[in-house]
């Protein structure tokens, strides 16, 4: 029996192809944009989490501004034991531009110490990272990011080359593997030199230093965070001069933000689903009116109320489900295009697909029930008389 309803409804839909397509356009747009936005949001979230996780989860960031120089230069070593700090590295960053053959290249100089490669989980592709001796001897050596060789040395092996920073020649001793982009910029256009050297070069004691700290274990992250904060509170004149937060806090904030943004966008997009649903209801009402006589004939031939109701309800669901499938196709194309044209990977999860299709069916049911009910309630005598 169900098969018959389906074939009747399918026939009615296919005999008005353009109308069905236009009717379901709202659902098409709604479904495709909701799927695409949800997938984009989820992919962005996953990507961000992956990036942050790759830095390490027992990591703490402390940004300190010390304009009047009250902080002892070895403050971190003083509290290392009590604050359960495993490794740390300060970092100060300054942009420098190079003009090579008339092309301007922006490079960021990062002043760090010998433990920076550990706390930031750097991998070396050649040479070595700065070591304790480099730092103590104050000898001008530099480690470069993976894109520096292409940008500054015309693709040649940078090891042993000389890089002039603010008039001082630095010998390149190592190259770091690709790290990619994140919210603070392109990590592959960095040049790492000694922290003290960087401070001297840019005479920038007053600039903000970010400390990358790893706590002894993941469990002691909060202890470290509290101790460091307590120390800075006691030394600095104002607690607005520093910010300290852990990797997991950032992760949590990112997560909340992305989820919020995703659901907000999907919410906006789902308004078009609502509009699409109203369109369906509108057309179904027209259809019922147009086919009043057909309904009368069917009733005269023995159709029960429920049978007429089901026929029109299935018709509405077919239209919205069709819209959902077309929308799904468009979303897949969109995801494919975005993935192909950018380095952002958008994957549409099976759960999103199921959700979208269930949504399209529900819209057909919700907005189809009123017209279908109206059809089923027609009096056979009246309906047969309808011209």
């Amino acid at each position: 029996m169900f098969k018959e309803y389906f074939s009747i409804a399918w026939r009615s839909v296919t005999s008005h192809k353009i109308r069905a397509l236009l009717t379901t356009l709202g659902v098409v747009i709604g479904v495709s944009s909701v799927i695409l936005l949800l997938s984009l949001g989820n992919s962005a979230k996953a990507e961000a989490e992956k990036q942050i996780r790759s830095i390490g989860s027992n990591l703490i960031f402390v940004s300190v501004s010390d304009p009047i120089g009250v902080l002892p230069s070895i403050w971190m070593d003083e509290i290392k034991e009590s604050a359960k700090i495993a490794y740390y590295s300060p970092m100060v960053q300054r942009p420098v531009s190079y003009s090579i053959n008339g092309v301007n290249t922006e490079v960021t100089i990062s002043g760090v110490n010998e433990d920076y490669d550990y706390v930031s989980s750097l991998t070396m592709t050649s040479g070595r990272f700065l070591n304790k001796l480099d730092i103590q001897s104050n000898y001008p050596v530099a480690v470069v990011g993976s894109k520096i060789a292409d940008s500054l040395f015309a693709g040649a092996d940078p090891i042993g080359k000389t890089l002039v920073i603010n008039g001082v020649p630095f010998e390149v001793i190592g190259e770091v593997g690709a790290r990619g982009q994140n919210f603070s910029g392109d990590n592959d256009m960095l040049v790492y030199i000694s922290y003290d050297y960087a401070l001297n070069l840019f005479s920038s004691r007053a600039f903000m230093t970010t400390y990358y700290i790893t706590s002894v274990t993941e469990a002691s992250v909060n202890t470290t965070l509290a101790k460091v904060s307590a120390y800075l509170d006691s030394v600095l004149p104002s607690n607005s001069l520093y910010r300290a937060f852990s990797q997991s806090q950032i992760l949590g904030i990112m997560d909340t933000l992305m989820s919020l943004l995703t659901s907000l966008l999907a919410g906006i997009a789902s308004i078009s689903l609502l509009v699409g649903g109203i369109g369906i209801m509108n057309i179904m009402l027209v259809t019922v009116r147009e086919r009043t006589r057909e309904i009368g004939i069917r009733k005269a031939l023995g159709a029960k109320r429920s049978q007429i109701l089901l026929q029109f309800l299935i018709e509405a669901v077919i239209i919205t489900l069709l819209g959902g499938l077309i929308g799904l196709g468009i979303a897949y194309m969109g995801a494919f295009l975005i993935s192909a044209l950018s380095d952002f990977k958008v994957t549409i999860g099976l759960d999103t697909v199921v959700l979208a299709l269930l949504f399209s069916i529900s819209i057909g049911l919700i907005f189809g029930i009123y017209p279908a009910n109206k059809a089923s309630l027609l009096e056979p005598v009246e309906a047969l008389r309808y011209e």
């Binding site: 029996m1 005999s15 057909e294 004939i297 005269a300 029960k304 005598v381």
Partner: protein, 217 residues
């Protein structure tokens, strides 16, 4: 209608036996359409009783009425009332589908009926590809689908020329001879002459009820 109750039929009473061929005639406004709707279970009486096969139809609900229309009554309409986007075969299948007849059996029955009314070679034509007489024959086949006891024909020749009209009437006579109860509603006495009993309606009342034998042909 406000407070004014218009009585289309008032105080009429008659019985139709199984196997009769009855014509209900009367001018427009005589109440014959209302009578046909009641006989066909498309409408129910507001007062009084209608008994069909010993069943008190006026006590039935909508679903039961649909069931009776489906299995006990076959409608033949003046305007054929075929579904235009369906083929002759599919039109005949509709009542069988609502009766939940099995697919194979359904097709067999519908094809046999179309062959019986002489449209064995037109089964896959749509109504627009058929002549008026052929369309009416499709609708007769459809009326016969669930093998009902009664064929209710409302001006069955109204949209046909006299020759095809005659063909349709003789088809109905044939069905009567096979045992079907035939009720024709018409305003045309010439059509009514084909029946063996004529009930004349006027202003909602039975004016006369006469058997064929009483008539001068």
């Amino acid at each position: 209608m406000g407070d004014v109750l218009v009585k289309a039929l008032d105080g009429i009473s008659f019985e139709i036996e199984e196997g009769e061929f009855v014509a209900i005639v009367g001018p427009s406004g005589s109440g014959k359409s209302t009578l046909m709707n009641i006989l066909g279970c498309l409408d129910i009486v507001t007062d009084g009783t209608y008994k069909l096969n010993q069943k008190m139809i006026n006590e039935y609900d909508e679903n039961d009425l649909a069931g009776i229309r489906n299995t006990s009554i076959g409608f033949v309409f003046q305007q054929f009332n075929l579904l235009p986007s369906f083929t002759a075969l599919e039109n005949v299948l509709i009542p069988l589908t609502y009766a939940r007849v099995h697919r194979k059996e359904r097709e067999q029955t519908a094809k046999a009926l179309l062959t019986q009314v002489g449209l064995g070679d037109r089964m896959y034509h749509k109504p627009t590809e058929l002549s008026g007489g052929q369309q009416q024959r499709v609708s007769i086949a459809r009326a016969l689908a669930n093998n009902p006891e009664i064929i209710l024909a409302d001006e069955p020749t109204g949209a046909l020329d006299s020759k095809t009209g005659q063909e349709v009437l003789s088809l109905l006579s044939q069905l009567n001879q096979q045992g079907k109860t035939i009720i024709i509603i018409t305003h045309d006495m010439a059509i009514a002459q084909h029946a063996r009993r004529i009930i004349r309606l006027k202003d909602g009342l039975v004016e006369s009820d006469a058997r064929y034998e009483d008539f001068d042909v």
